[in-house]
Amino acid sequence: MNDYFDFEKSIAEMEKMIEKLKSISPDQNHYNDEIAELEKKCALQKQELYGNLTAWQTVQIARHPKRPVLLDYISLVFSDFVELHGDRSFGDDQALIGGFATIGKRRVMLIGHNKGKNVDENIKRNFGQAKPEGYRKALRLMRLAEKYNLPVLCFIDTQGAYPGIEGEERGQPEAIATNLTEMARLEVPIIALITGEGGSGGALAIGVGDSVLMMSHSVYSVISPEGCASILWRDASFSPQAAEALKPTAQSLLALKVIDEIIPEPLGGAHRNYEQTSQEIKRVLLKHLKRLSAFSTSKLLKLRFEKYSAMGLFSD
């Protein structure tokens, strides 16, 4: 399960050592003390490391190939999922999926990007980069949620909308713009959760929530650090600097009031403990569902409009 990044090297070594000691005498525990000490040391160092990640390190964790994807959450957070396919006009995008789902005792419409975790899945899911038909499917499901009076939960995890010629041809900008406009007035609560990468317009197109949440090691940005570095620094190797400058982390965005709450991940990242991650997600989602379901529709729309009206910092 554990693939380590460069900056996790010392932790990786300690964890390997612990494994090794444990495997030498699995029954008699000759090295109990050494193991305990190492584990304590390791835990401290983790606390130190993961509590002080750079933006660029966070980007890497957010993109971890073993990070849970929507299908994992569907089985761990939700029950009774009924996937609904198709945009009813062109196709069925497998990069962005959705359907009826139940969380706790609450019925919802669940929509989200789904990255793959291996080559085949990534081809099928187009690395979670949705095409216009994906965003149009999302809107169709939101409209259905409105008819059935179900809150909408959006799980966001994408580098961005697919930037190929088909996207331009079939109206990536139209699909995104229409979603932004329609979501602004959708008559049911919307909760958006950035689980991994929140990449630009492709993320926002299902991200206009009454509550916007981020996993503690996810990122949400107007452009990828690589893209920003190649434009502003004219050199993609300045990605760490660009990442720092863009302030795409949950902490920064909470401070900038772009998001409402951070969902803590297990030490080292969501990929280290799917179960714990899912429980936290469930707890926080249920809390927000409860809060939002108390509002009348007109109150909900008023609050949503005020929320987005207040986005941004400028001088006057």
């Binding site: 713009a177 206009v208 452009i223 001088s315």
Partner: protein, 278 residues
Amino acid sequence: MPWFIKSKTSEEKRKPVKDDIWVKCGSCNAHVFKEDWFNSLSVCPKCGFHGRLTAYERIGQILDIDTFKEMFGRISPSDPLSFVWTRGSYKDIVKQTQDKTGLNESVVCGIGKIHDIPVSIAVMDFRFFGGSLGSATGEKILLAANYAYEHKIPYIIFSASGGARMQEGTLSLMQMAKTCAGIARLREKKIPYVSVLTDPTTGGVIASYAMVGDVNIAEPGALIGFAGRRVIEQTIRQKLPDNFQTSEYFLEHGFIDLIVERKKLKDTLKNVLQYYNR
């Protein structure tokens, strides 16, 4: 979402070169007397190339004389991320841009009349940070929408933008949602909203308010697109068609209602607005 990928050379080529007497057309390279150039609304009399306009030039061409009243003019960028890159700090460059252009932001908003029809209007200016969408841009575009909403008058936006302003990070992305929220309320109250797309309209602007007009009008030959050409070429690994990401391409694919030459634009806007029947 930002869109700065067009190479400098090709950008430069499109920009008419002006000296004291002549304007050199950005497309056919013809030398045109400055007076003729402006008399033809900055459209090349030789080849029909539509040159870029400043916000105030546009307002002068579209609104009835002396009817424009600017609003929200004081709103200007702050530097929420303390953004610094190779060119310097965002704060300083904003200041320089303001001094150079005389603008506070990339959009000029206000009210005025088009053949006697009162409208709320927002006009982007590409000279200000490539017409990019920052927090102050979004605020002004929303406020102008709200003005139309409260006074029940049509809203018109002229877009000219390279996309979201990355120096404001995720806050600039949020301006897409913010501006569309304003448009959504107009829809709900059945107030007309006309989007005019001029050269260039790309990135986060084409993917928000510019694409959701009741009627989307484009000027001929304008660069209109979502992702950058280079990004797309890298993605698909093949050359793109010639008319790719032009007004004409977007019309053909169903996203633009009509392409209108600059000299007919004011009359067309009037024609469209007079069909609003409330």
